[in-house]
Symmetry: none
Subunit: 218 residues, 4 copies
Amino acid sequence: MKKVNSAANAPSVGKRDLILDTALKLFVENGYIDTKIIDIANAAGIGKGTIYEYFSSKEALFTELLQHHVVSRYACMKEEITHNNTSCREQLRRYIHFDMKMAQQFSNGKNFIDQLYQEFPLDQYPDLRASLNRLLHYRLSTLIFIITEGVSRKEFAPVDPTAAAFTIMGAIGAYISYRCGLFSEYNHSEKDRTGEESYSDNENTLLEMLLHGLAGEY
Amino acid sequence: MKKVNSAANAPSVGKRDLILDTALKLFVENGYIDTKIIDIANAAGIGKGTIYEYFSSKEALFTELLQHHVVSRYACMKEEITHNNTSCREQLRRYIHFDMKMAQQFSNGKNFIDQLYQEFPLDQYPDLRASLNRLLHYRLSTLIFIITEGVSRKEFAPVDPTAAAFTIMGAIGAYISYRCGLFSEYNHSEKDRTGEESYSDNENTLLEMLLHGLAGEY
Amino acid sequence: MKKVNSAANAPSVGKRDLILDTALKLFVENGYIDTKIIDIANAAGIGKGTIYEYFSSKEALFTELLQHHVVSRYACMKEEITHNNTSCREQLRRYIHFDMKMAQQFSNGKNFIDQLYQEFPLDQYPDLRASLNRLLHYRLSTLIFIITEGVSRKEFAPVDPTAAAFTIMGAIGAYISYRCGLFSEYNHSEKDRTGEESYSDNENTLLEMLLHGLAGEY
Amino acid sequence: MKKVNSAANAPSVGKRDLILDTALKLFVENGYIDTKIIDIANAAGIGKGTIYEYFSSKEALFTELLQHHVVSRYACMKEEITHNNTSCREQLRRYIHFDMKMAQQFSNGKNFIDQLYQEFPLDQYPDLRASLNRLLHYRLSTLIFIITEGVSRKEFAPVDPTAAAFTIMGAIGAYISYRCGLFSEYNHSEKDRTGEESYSDNENTLLEMLLHGLAGEY
DNA sequence: TATGAATGAGAGTTCATTCAT
DNA sequence: TATGAATGAACTCTCATTCAT
């Protein structure tokens, strides 16, 4: 007796994605708290109730956004970028590339991911916090893996891998904020902002800084 | 300088500070949104309406908090830590020390300052944003000054000072989050957490990483 | 009489009944307010919109349910149980039997009918109230008829027939609630709960109480 | 430092009672579900938010109403009306009087209390259900106590006390509904509706019916 | 000056109903 | 005929702000 959804009546995949896309855009722009359900509905050109056809709550919408569009991508990052026959320097470059690509794809270059950790009180939003913790775990454990390996191969100095991983994660995030030109006063010049070459230049600039530090090549 | 609220009818300079101190504590603990005016009043042992005798709104209270307790301190930081007859390496060490001291004093070691930039949508809270922009300016311009000088003195490699300043600012913030043990999984060992020696060790560890990078000493 | 829904294009008399039956079950279980249209549709294995093909609104569905499944049965009750050549005591026994049978058939033994009078504000749901008033009329007028006849035949004491009818109606309802074991603390023993003998015993127990009262046989 | 509430700022007892009184009136008239918070606020001439200054939720308001104004009264009923040196017949009369007085005081003569048991799904509203269960317990246990005693004293016939208690509770409730003239068609005559004599007559009429039944005096 | 009772705009969420397919 | 995606009015509840005392 159970009917298979015909295309006509199936919950529109496009609509679901429309909501996710619209919500992402607004969440990135205004943050979680300041993005109201009605804002998302209006921006998507749909009714408020429609959102609740696809997501059980505002938190569930955000959590899915985070999990499916961000965390799951990071979940397989480690395998993508770490190989035995790759230098740790190259692995680190790939990590930087990954973070920057994610920022580009999901928040138009903004450092959205680092913001996530801040916005939610630790004791509320349990599902959301779980996703955020997973996300942090994927990022840190990958960096720690690379650094530990680099130290043991003597590619890197004998730093504390965890401390270095945090430091590098913060440095990358801030560099992304810088590239995004978040603060107009400190905008880099226009010529740097476009072109694939510049894009790859960014990664190399940052990589050099992380590898050799301020005093490194001196 | 702190006044004791001596009598019921005394002009309550101390009460103003009481509100500011209490608010800071709660804002740090719970964030701006999750700190309610009634919470501040209760924690300060005063009435809710009293807060509005001293501050016109929640945003005004927070803005003043930020300005007087945080931004104004950063405003004179540059003079404190940059001198011609000091090496740029030492100046950078002092900058790190300043950030860490602020984190210690104002947020019990938490990386509160970096959170500030995230929590408020760009287009709302104009006064608050102005303060935040000032704060960012003081931090970045100091770093840029140090780095530019270091490059010209050939203490540092010829990096882009602005990019490097962002990167370093992010690295310091993340290192503070790490030291705070925000994420239990990545807590450093207990022995590192106490003692003045360890405190100064932290600064040096971070300084070395920023100066020589991962591959630096190899 | 029940039609099997033979083919996809058959006029769905059965579907109408399916909706009514399913709705009855859920309304009895959960009450009017807590039974959602989607619950009925899901339980019936049909689409939500289909219900509106057969009933103009939730209230209309419930009203028809009440009218066709409950009120219409009570409409012909009087003729079934009152005959000149029957003792009023026997007529009362038959009335009790009828109420209990209805409770059994329509609400699995629960005192659903008395609940109906409570759940709806007097001024709303005009159609529904009209049905409820009819239902009350059938029950009361039958009881009043029996009692009036009993009094005039001197089978019964010279009570006020209307007052007695209300009282008896309430007593029967409460007895049904008791038999249903609605309140576990006051559940009767297990042995009483099954068997046809016990079922008829119930009626007689109640009948005796109504006829002779607490002090009657003393 | 803790201040004692001066009379001027103390939460107004009158306002709390105003809310309770207004809410009771509307709950009685329209039931729990159909009484909206805004209705209570409007009827009381206060703002919506004010209600939440005194009660944490709609359910809490209703539960307190029930507990403090109804259940607690029933809690001490048993002691008031059952004494060893009182006949069980008199005790039953007092019970009837109590139920009727409660109906008069709390719902303008309407059978509000019996409605309560119906309106709430068993699994929701846990606090409310707890109060309702207590209320039911007080009523039934008192009746069961009276009947058991009456049977052992041979004042009453050897009925099942629990079954009889349910039956009598239902009968009283229905009689109250009748007296209230809930259903206009069955309104008793006007002359019966007023005067203390008639009021006490009611109790005696009902008492006689419960004691001797329909056939009792015949 | 200090208070907290009172407020109401605005939030997330529900669900009976509509209607294009 | 049958559907379920889409809707928005209406609900409960929150909390920054006001103001009479």
